[in-house]
Symmetry: C2
Subunit: 93 residues, 2 copies
DNA sequence: CGCATAATTAGACAGTTGGCTAATTACTCA
DNA sequence: TGAGTAATTAGCCAACTGTCTAATTATGCG
């Protein structure tokens, strides 16, 4: 849950990748086939997401299976809840 | 809850502004005094946050009071919860 | 081995972003 | 009205980002 996490989430393509992985794990190629973006560009996005801890990669044969890493998403939720929770003592006792 | 929201959250200065406003509303100058950044640059950040719907500005005299707009933060939480909730039927019945 | 396939790394390039200074707007008050 | 203060807008620039093509790595298979 650092700057890298938010930067990673800032790109719509990467968020769409995460939504896809919310359903099930997928190979890099399988994911890439859903986008009109070159494979190297997709690979770059995978790298950003992985380095931010938002997805995990598992190599199997010549393919890489990516899956969502929910721990960072949970941390992010905690941060947001803290933001919502503070400074409300008067209105919401 | 669109691309603009995530872009706005991608900058650490803007997130720090939001944390400050989580405690209480503050004037632009009051916020700016906490940063080692020029007033125009801070004003730019306020503009980004406001246009993303993350903060609200209320003019009073020559000052502008900014406050957190929690509705977008709540929407963001819903998106994240959806991300966490999907595709888990086997593991978490 | 040698060729095909999956994916990545390398390097280049246009567009975006975040910072600055200078100028402008809006308001207060003597 | 005019000086002073709060904040913004305008315009510029270096750094970063997302995209591409070309090249490379790693695995599978006849």
């Amino acid at each position: 849950m650092n700057d890298e996490t938010f930067k990673a989430l800032a790109d719509p393509t990467r968020r769409r990748i995460m939504r896809l992985l919310g359903d099930r794990e997928m190979t890099a190629g399988e994911i890439a086939s859903q986008f009109d973006i070159s494979a190297p560009s997709m690979s770059h996005h995978f790298g950003v997401l992985k380095s931010a801890g938002l997805i995990n990669g598992r190599k199997e044969g010549q393919q890489i299976y990516y899956s969502l890493d929910t721990t960072v998403v949970q941390d992010l939720m905690a941060v947001l809840m803290d933001l919502l929770g503070r400074g409300k003592s008067e209105e919401n006792p």
